[in-house]
Subunit: 235 residues, 6 copies
């Protein structure tokens, strides 16, 4: 049994609800999920400045959660681009997995080539960054639907046609065998999109929960050598 905190880096609590629902749908029976919405932070994460504010919000939530007793066994960062992930890994005692890295490694296990469909277009570089950290550029392309994140705070089904269009382009032009949904608020697109495309559609929050559960079950957490050594640790 594990207690996992799902951190939404933005202050929009309806999106926290969405991501917790996405997480719950894929969680193991014994897993207890808690959504965390920061009190201060960006309303959505679209710009690089939003990422700075979102990272601070993530870190504040990690610190708050770690101060609880008991602290969570692990964390999911529920924002495409994995805002604040490195700092979160450094600070939390348990493992932390970002939805972007989770979606990518999940796709790599079930498809030879795959495509991220993110939104809005200005965030392409955030996807590129995680793809490059993982080295998956030879298997993954990034596409965008140019809609604002705020528009999915209440649900994303109105974007189905646009995601279908980009996904079909990915299948035809990129030889994509799976689609990654590139935004945290899109969980309700998974079902209709799978039905439409006939190939796997990956939602990163659900993917991340499974990875945190797996790490906890293996007794693994972030390495404390070099990169993620605890703050204040000797040089």
């Amino acid at each position: 049994m594990s207690r996992i905190a799902v951190i939404n880096p933005n202050t929009t609590s309806s999106m926290t609800a969405t991501v917790v629902r996405a997480a719950a749908a894929a969680a193991q029976p014994g897993t207890v999920l808690t959504g965390r919405t920061p009190t201060h932070g960006p309303a959505t994460v679209e710009t690089n400045a939003d990422e700075v504010a979102g990272a601070a919000a993530v870190l504040a939530e990690i610190d708050r959660a770690e101060a609880e007793s008991p602290a969570p066994d692990g964390y999911v960062i529920a924002c495409f681009g994995d805002t604040g992930l490195a700092a979160a890994k450094e600070r939390a005692v348990g493992p932390v997995v970002g939805m972007t890295e989770a979606a990518l490694v999940t796709a790599s296990l079930i498809a030879h080539r795959f495509t991220i469909v993110t939104m809005p277009r200005r965030t392409l570089a955030m996807s590129d960054r995680v793809v490059r950290e993982l080295g998956l550029g030879h298997r993954c392309r990034v596409r965008a639907v140019d809609e604002q994140v705020a528009g999915v705070a209440g649900g994303s089904l109105q974007l189905l046609d646009q995601f279908v269009e980009q996904s079909w382009a990915a299948m035809v032009e990129d030889d994509a065998e799976a689609i990654i949904l590139g935004c945290a608020g899109l969980a309700d697109l998974v079902g209709p999109l799978r039905a439409e495309l006939g190939i796997p559609v990956i939602e990163g929050v659900a993917a991340a929960v499974g990875l945190v559960e797996a790490l906890v079950a293996q007794g693994l957490s972030t390495s404390r050598a070099n990169t993620y050594a605890p703050t204040g640790a000797g040089r």
Copy 2:
């Protein structure tokens, strides 16, 4: 709850027992694990010819398991190098994860740089192959302890000093923050090595079980577009 078959590509049943133990240690409570030892196949997988025979053995076991009712919900391939993995993904209805890819994606979540310590030295290229498929060459180095796989059929503690030596070299020279054990029979090294090194030590079979559980929980299996389309599917 999921039923996961752990396929040992070689015919050495003591190694099947070892990998099932490794898997069990990390499995979710509701997971039912079944080890499968092929009746025909190589005694160990060390050579490229062993990989050919091992892949056929894996495929035969997949076919046998798929013919059972119910078939397993997913599979782990318990051989470093992920012998027969592509064919297994193609043939099984449920998801299939290799211990090498599992160990690598797990390491990527908890460490910036990491090192595989495999054995024997002649198998370096098998590790290189999986590292390259995943694109992790910029974060992962491969080292070897030059001992034969047959030597660990009854346990691997006698190799602790050699693994410590290579792991320390990895920490000092490669800036490794985690170690991946590069052979299926090494599960009993995990504890002593973690204690010795103070950094995460990743055992791929345990890692793979968690990933299969996560895929099953997400309702995901191998994409049937292109690469892993079922045998006999229309062109």
Copy 3:
């Protein structure tokens, strides 16, 4: 003078005849070519399971040939994707060259960028794999004509239009300066396609024969250090 065995990994003897013809057209005067068709194996190699069976067939043919007196001086593996190549290199005394690696290195000598046109589409990953092993992803793209291999057992001229279409797309969109035919049964397309496109068209079996001749002439064969050490060699 060298005796070279051309191994067809599938059991379709008309395809063996085709590849031997392709090889003969490019062989040196003193070269003696022998086609080898396995008695057991897949009818064609299209799926990952076919590759497993094909690799076993290749290995069996290598073993049979090596037992002859004299054994061949070298081998060509005549299947796109180079099924069973690593094991064949390990087992044969003389050099072994796959048609895919042969086509790629040949293209790299006469063109800056080039494109593989393979078939059927589900085999894209097999081409990708060899491209990546050789590191040529920055210069080579892979396209597909979505036809089954069985359809070319009696000749491939009926596919000319489709290959012309993909090749023109490659010239315009990929800036391809040469085309690699991505299947073993396409030798009769070389002439018409060269005439149509005005750029080099590379047939891998012909390319491989030349490389084996060159290796034999240099007194070179597969290295026995590490990766391709003989089966049963000390660790």
Copy 4:
């Protein structure tokens, strides 16, 4: 003539003085340099959490500076790892250059291979990140002297021996032809280290000033398409 703000992401004003001195030594005659020390932020940037706080500090300084009349013509981010750089580029009207990217592109112009000597060892991943964004991994290695940044607040000459040792190792083992100093407070090492090694030693703040001057002179600033579109810009 250009007015360039040099932003120190940490609150240690002695380090701001150091980096402004470094910048001044390489600035064009007409350039007016202003150091900016944030009122809130980390004392030094060593951890991932420091980077989150440092990025917020950088952004706050950018906003303050942009509100001045006239705003600076361009900015230098004076922290190895380029904390907050993407957000700064997004927010500032004029160009922004990080000292790490500056050092790397400068090295690429005067040396075939080169090595970063950073500090402390836990920050290796920050250097790796910028090297990878620029794609220079085939020419650049990262080494570390394991000393804390706080120790160089008053000068860095006491570390000369350690930097010489790592630099010599870089010349011998990495075939390094130039050394990049991987921390903002090391400007006083440049002279002694050049004298000792006989190869170029690159200080990133000095390098960044020159690049900002060049961008301003060309009338170039950050592109507003996609990645760095202004905050609040239409989707």
Copy 5:
């Protein structure tokens, strides 16, 4: 103050005038620019043979300039593809920057992804070469307008439509955020193209002048270790 020689590798003096004008527009007030046109060399650099002749012309001009008193403080090589650059770096005492490498590093500072629009199409490989040396293939694509260089000896405005067309394609298909003009004679396109596209347009000669000024200001020149050791230096 620095004296910078702008070397045109071809013998067309009207192009030397163009590149010196481009350089002057971006030079610092104290910079003295001298254009140098070789007496022997190719009329334009379009073919690989032109590059051989152009490299010799560059080297001859470097030798002539170095023999002057005082020799220039630094050099710009004003030909896309950076003809003769390695030899020029080796031979000149001061720093030497090619317009292609300059344009690429400049683009990397102000845009996430960018596209070179070069000419004619046969020179694609020359751009690819520099992109690959710098490792920027993940961020930069190369396109071509298929016009001969000789056609721009008297100005390039007649090509505006073709450059607009390729640039728009780059913005839409490559997600390009900046455009690099891939030929030395195109400086008069910068203004109209920026106006048309609304994104940065980078001219490499202007970019190179700024980089040489920056290197001179830092007291940096080409490393004399290994690759660019002076001719005749001890082995």
Copy 6:
């Protein structure tokens, strides 16, 4: 039967004799080899300036040979670094293969990892350049013996110990399975080095001859699309 010209880019005729001997040892019975020594050019190719002069010398020899009747069927460029290769491919009617690219593709066929041992150390970048063009950086490392090329004009056996030392280091530290001799004058080291090391030792001129023979036999020459279109061809 094919007539192949072996072009030595330098004016040292004893080295031409050496490379022709190397070529002859591996040539097919019907091949007629002609060594060509330029009348003008560098005495050896060690510096970047030497490469400029050597490329011009190569081109002059190609032009001279193409003017003969009959012209050669193909060419080998016998200088490590493949001086002048692109221009030679452009100008010659028949195929042209450089000894460096030949050695590398040959090594890729018989070894998983391999190491170039070049000389002198200042030429490391020339090897790196060809390795990178071919994309083999993940399998090939470059080492150097720091001796001048002039020293091997009369034979290279005096360097055996140094080549053995670097080769052993390559086997132990780089896991090299084959060694490439990185200079044109080292053919007499092949035998002793093979005997000493027990792994393949590859001499690039011998390798190149075989590749030219293979290309000629396949009726293939350099593509005339884009990069190697004939000089003077329409844009």
